[in-house]
């Protein structure tokens, strides 16, 4: 029942057969620590991918390699036809295509909410100020806090700050949204308001990669779930496959600990 419900809400156009992210043989070391071991993953346009895994499994590191925040030592990443190389031009092109939301929000504390959101459109997309402001106000409306536009980040609650961070990432009109544990730093009563925004976003057809511990969210909106452990992908599958019929021992162990 729940299955048919969600498949109605995910519009058919959202999922196409077009590949938007390709990761081939990704390896990364921190010093001697081998944190990503031969990770292969392709993501289709409009897909909502949730990455699960115990802490220290490399899932956050993996998502941060996609927009070049963490350089990789071996392997190949291609996003929307652009190869992620060491060339700053490629990295900047990819960062224009991807928006990222961090665990610690990372809003700019010396700017108002509106300025935080307008910064990217004005300086990276070279949009006129009036247009950037229009985009920013629309996005604040969308994440449900239009009245906070002229406050500073420090005056907002954690949940509100994270919603601003989502709006800031969306202001760049990215093809792909990366979420790195967006609710882990929030008080329990604020998690829902952020997840609600993310659910709405997932249904809008944007490609989403989300590292999270929110199992309910994963089950409800994910098209596919990837389980990381020890720097490798252990298992991939739809929420039903993974939660109801886990194949791998490590998946079973992880789920038994968390559910």
């Amino acid at each position: 029942m729940a299955q048919s419900q969600s498949s109605v809400e995910v519009s058919p156009m959202a999922k196409s057969e077009e590949t938007i992210i390709t990761c081939e043989g990704i390896n990364k070391w921190f010093g001697d620590m081998h944190v990503l071991k031969d990770v292969n993953l392709t993501i289709k346009k409009g897909e909502v991918l949730v990455i699960l895994g115990p802490s220290g499994s490399g899932k956050s590191t993996f998502i941060r390699t996609i927009n070049g925040l963490e350089p990789i030592q071996k392997g190949h990443i291609e996003i929307d036809g652009v190869s992620l190389t060491h060339d700053i031009k490629d990295i900047e092109a990819i960062r224009r295509e991807t928006g990222m939301v961090f665990q610690q929000f990372n809003l700019f504390p010396h700017m108002t909410i509106l300025k935080n959101i307008m910064l990217g459109p004005i300086w990276v997309k070279k949009k006129p100020k009036a247009e950037a402001e229009k985009i920013a106000r629309e996005l604040l409306e969308r994440v449900g806090i239009p009245e906070q536009a002229d406050k500073y980040p420090g005056q907002l609650s954690g949940g509100q700050q994270q919603r601003v961070a989502i709006a800031r990432a969306l202001a760049m009109q990215p093809e792909i949204m990366l979420f790195d544990e967006p609710t882990s730093a929030l008080d329990p009563e604020m998690i829902k308001e952020v997840l609600d925004v993310m659910k709405e976003l997932a249904r809008s057809g944007i490609t989403m990669l989300c590292v999270t511990h929110e199992m309910g969210f994963a089950r409800e909106v994910a098209d596919r779930i990837v389980l990381f452990d020890g720097g490798e992908i252990v298992e991939t599958g739809t929420p039903e496959e993974l939660f109801d019929n886990p194949k791998h021992e490590r998946t079973k162990l992880f789920l038994s600990q968390i559910l």
Binding site: N67, G68, L69, E92, R95, R96, T98, G99, M100, F102, Q104, N106, L107, F108, P109, H110, L119, G120, W123, V124, V143, G144, I145, K151, Y152, P153, G154, Q155, G159, Q160, A165, R168, A169, A171, M172, E189, M190, K192, E193, D196, V197
Partner: protein, 400 residues
């Protein structure tokens, strides 16, 4: 979408215990609460009264302040020609007007600074020893302050205009003092007294700041050539006392310059002070840069800002805000350190004081002279530290 949690109103609010006590209670609780504190209070009281009595009786009856009042012009501008004195007054009028304009635009700290300035003008205006021509000029200063303030209240975009105004004012100040061929030239050896002190400190503080920012950014740069040049410069300068730099500027540099080429004495000293302060400013700025969490860089990268934009929109504004108290502290010490130029023979406020006290007419009046210039230094340094505290407070709003 936002969740409103209403906390149940507590009907039985309990007032906090009373802490405010009357003056008498305070005295009894803190000064006379037992026998030995009572003795200490009396002993300390006698010492304080004794000192205050002696100081006041000296200041009011024994001291001969004519050494100050008769030489007032020397203390202020030194040997600046009397016939050209109107230029100093005019540039002071422009500065007063700018202070007024900024007060009306920004209010807050600058308004209070203008208040202090107005107080200084007023005291001099009312002082019996002030020459009547100076009184007219002082009235003009006060008018400049008030007119600037009133104009700013009516002006649109007054903040931008005020900032542009200062940028224009700075070269104007030098034009008025020096003349540059349009007005009769007044050589730098005649720029003395408080004028020289303020000029030297102002130039060193204003120029060293951008230089310090560049050096700090250079030191954190990934390019080895720039990085090691900046480290070398900063560490070299910080290992040398300021007086050595002044002596080098005064004695050594002329020796190395090719014959025929001379750099003005004052210019060399200004350059030395600027380069010296810049090294310290660089280390302060670097401290500020290090206080920026890594997440800020990552967020800036993630929205696609390039390194230049990240530095100027995200990192520097936050870093500089964090170090305002240190920067002002450094400016205060630079302002006081300018008195070292007296040792290399320049007649700044201290240099003038030394020459005044050696005037046979005022023999033995060195106490009055030094107390007066100490007071002048204190008024200026305290105004700076006061404004720093206020700026710090006002910037705290809405931060983190």
């Amino acid at each position: 979408m936002s969740v409103d949690l209403k906390i149940v109103e507590n009907k039985q609010m309990i007032a906090p215990p009373k802490t405010s006590a009357s003056l008498w209670d305070w005295v009894r609780n803190n000064l006379f609460n037992n026998w030995y504190n009572t003795i200490l209070t009396f002993v300390a009281g006698f010492i304080i009264i004794g000192i205050a009595y002696n100081v006041l009786s000296w200041v009011l009856f024994e001291a001969q302040w004519t050494v100050i009042t008769n030489n007032y012009r020397l203390f202020m501008v030194g040997r600046y020609p009397l016939s050209e004195l109107w230029r100093i007054w005019s540039l002071l009028t422009i500065v007063s007007f700018m202070f007024g304009l900024c007060s009306g635009s920004f209010k807050g700290t600058i308004l209070r600074l203008s208040g202090i300035l107005a107080g200084i003008y007023l005291i001099h205006l009312l002082a019996p020893f002030t020459a009547s021509s100076s009184k007219v000029w002082l009235a003009v200063q006060l008018a400049g302050l008030v007119i600037g303030f009133l104009i700013a209240l009516k002006l649109p975009y007054n903040k931008r205009i005020a900032i542009i105004g200062w940028v224009i004012t700075i070269p104007l100040v030098f034009f008025f003092i020096h003349g540059f061929g349009i007005l009769p030239e007044v050589r730098t050896t005649f720029w003395n007294g408080l004028l020289l002190t303020v000029l030297l400190a102002g130039v060193a503080i204003i120029l060293s700041f951008p230089l310090g920012v560049l050096l700090a950014l250079g030191r954190t740069s990934k390019l080895p050539a720039i990085k090691y040049f900046c480290i070398g410069y900063i560490e070299l300068i910080r290992a040398v006392p300021l007086i050595t730099i002044f002596l080098m500027a005064q004695v050594l540099i002329p020796l190395f310059l090719p014959t025929g080429l001379t750099i003005d004495n004052l210019l060399r000293v200004m350059l030395g002070a600027t380069l010296f302060t810049a090294a310290y400013a660089a280390e302060n700025v670097r401290g500020g840069l290090q206080s920026i969490p890594n997440g800020q860089y990552e967020a800036a990268k993630a929205i696609g800002l390039n390194p230049f934009q990240t530095t100027f929109f995200i990192v520097l504004p936050q870093a500089l805000r964090a170090i305002i108290p240190t920067i002002v502290g450094q400016s205060i010490s630079m302002f006081k350190d300018t008195s070292l130029v007296a040792i290399v023979g320049l007649l700044d406020l201290l240099g003038i004081a030394q020459s005044v006290k050696s005037n046979p007419e005022f023999l033995g009046r060195h106490m009055e002279v030094y107390i007066y210039i100490a007071f002048v230094y204190w008024v200026i340094a305290y105004s700076m530290s006061y404004s720093s505290r206020r700026i710090e407070k006002s910037l705290g709003v809405g931060e983190r």
